[in-house]
């Protein structure tokens, strides 16, 4: 019984308040609308080429007609806007998740599963983390759920999202372990790099340097670090502090995957950003009252400016900046702050 109570307490323990989750919603919403997945292309495939993966999509015999996917695109856009501005946030967030799960389910019924599940699930979890309580039309119209029970439920929703991310990453680690990534006789990451470079023509960023760097020890270390990081994330979810460090490492990992393999796996970044304590970021934390109304267009303008300046795709830009900011966070939290603390203690 005591253990159960401790688990409940752990689930509800949170470093995040309504301001953090509200800013997360605005940033998630604006990035989502910029990177917005589309599904209307599915209508260009023959309806009877339907090949669903095991699961509920096997209940259908063929793809829905093309107009269905056009409507789905419109619905996802409208719901994305509703989440961004916080209009009936709880319902629209859950609906957005359900439509994304459905759209991706049809996309993957062509045979290839792209692991976008964390992006699709994030609005649903965050709907129950009260991310519509501030900076929203709901809050202006008094539709927020500010009572104690909903607040505590909100905190546990974020922990459950963290555990879901940890479990998902663990599957990747287990599959890599079974696939021989830890075998000292082969370097799986390097083999993949060769395949991506020579056969798929992914020659951008640092791919050429990576291919020409045939150092088995280095690549073996990359294999081991990848499996260790993906496997450890679930354990790091035990505490918010270690969780944020884990996510920062994963963001740097995604940056490495982009630079070396030219794979811009941006979907997860949108799930990770909800775990940033935005109100502790100095300039965001100081924004008050109606200044928040300027926040959304400012975020979008900064993103557009960054994409234009960097001349990369939006997807790549999101990964590059999240990786860069994560590196800064890690250096600050693991090196600079402890050094300053030690120095102050020594002075005292």
């Amino acid at each position: 019984m005591t253990t159960k109570i401790d688990i409940v307490r752990w689930l509800k323990a949170s470093d995040y308040d309504d301001k953090d989750t509200a800013i997360s919603r605005v940033i998630f919403g604006s990035l989502f609308l910029m990177l917005k997945p589309t599904f209307s292309w599915i209508g260009e495939y023959p309806r009877n080429s339907y090949m669903p993966p095991p699961g509920p999509f096997q209940l259908l015999a063929e793809f829905p007609p093309p107009w269905f996917f056009v409507m789905l695109d419109y619905a996802v856009t409208v719901l994305g806007v509703c989440v961004l501005i916080g209009y009936t946030t709880k319902i629209t967030s859950v609906l957005l998740s359900l439509l994304l799960l459905m759209g991706y389910g049809f996309s993957f019924s062509l045979g290839k599963i792209d692991h976008t599940i964390l992006l699709a699930l994030t609005p649903m979890f965050m709907a129950f983390a009260n991310w519509g309580n501030l900076l929203s039309i709901d809050s202006r119209q008094g539709r927020t759920s500010g009572n104690q029970s909903s607040a505590t439920a909100g905190l546990s929703a974020m922990r459950l999202l963290a555990v879901s991310i940890g479990v998902a990453m663990l599957t990747a680690a287990l599959m890599k372990f079974r696939g021989g990534w830890l075998s000292l006789s082969s370097q799986a990451a390097y083999s993949h790099e060769i395949a991506q470079y020579f056969f798929k023509g992914r020659e951008g960023f640092l791919a050429e340097i990576a291919v020409s760097t045939h150092l088995p020890l280095l690549w073996e270390a990359i294999d081991w670090m990848t499996v260790a990081l993906e496997g450890a994330l679930l354990i790091l979810a035990l505490s918010w502090r270690t969780w944020r460090i884990g996510l920062a490492l994963i963001c740097i990992f995604h940056l490495g995957v982009l630079l070396v393999f030219n794979i811009s796996f941006w979907y997860n970044i949108l799930a990770y950003i909800v775990f940033v304590r935005w109100s502790k970021v100095s300039f965001i934390g100081r924004i008050r009252g109606k200044m928040f109304l300027l926040f959304v267009p400012c975020i979008i303008a900064v993103e557009v400016l960054l994409v234009w300046l960097a001349n990369f795709s939006i997807e790549s830009t999101v990964i590059i900046f999240s990786g860069g900011i994560s590196a800064f966070y890690l250096v600050n939290h693991l090196m600079v702050r402890p050094t300053l603390l030690l120095r102050n203690r020594y002075k005292d």
Partner: protein, 170 residues
Amino acid sequence: MRVMNYLTERIAPLRGAMTSFKPAIGLIAILCVLPIEVLVVRASGHEPYPALFQPSFGTVEQSDSTVKYDFGKLTATTVDGEKLEVDPYQIMPSSSVDPISIWSIRFGPDKEIEPDIWLGFFKNSLTRLYPHEQFAKVTIEWYEIKLRVSDQKQVSKHLISSTNLDFGKP
């Protein structure tokens, strides 16, 4: 009325307890997902959806220190007998799922390409790409290519499958 009050008094603490344990139930459900997913993959041989999975990649290096890759070549033959090599990227609709992955999964060397399903798709795609040509057939050939890991030199390339889709008389 007294019965209702009595029941309400009795149920209220239970409801409170349930509310506080709801997150724990959610946690148990999420943790149970992992073994269930493993069981489904083992039973069906395929990844289920929706499911909590992330990219596994797997290993590509062979026991002889080579990297193997199946390369698909698409050739369209006009009614005049002229052969045009077509980039599969141009045939596949642009999509948020990597079109080349769909190409290699749906038309791969071990796949049976059913003319009933795909004939119209290839006809329409080729007409879109070459509006002034009339085509008689498409040929999909798959080659197994091996590169040596140490110096990335090609060590072998051989044809492993060839499929023709005849469009019939124009």
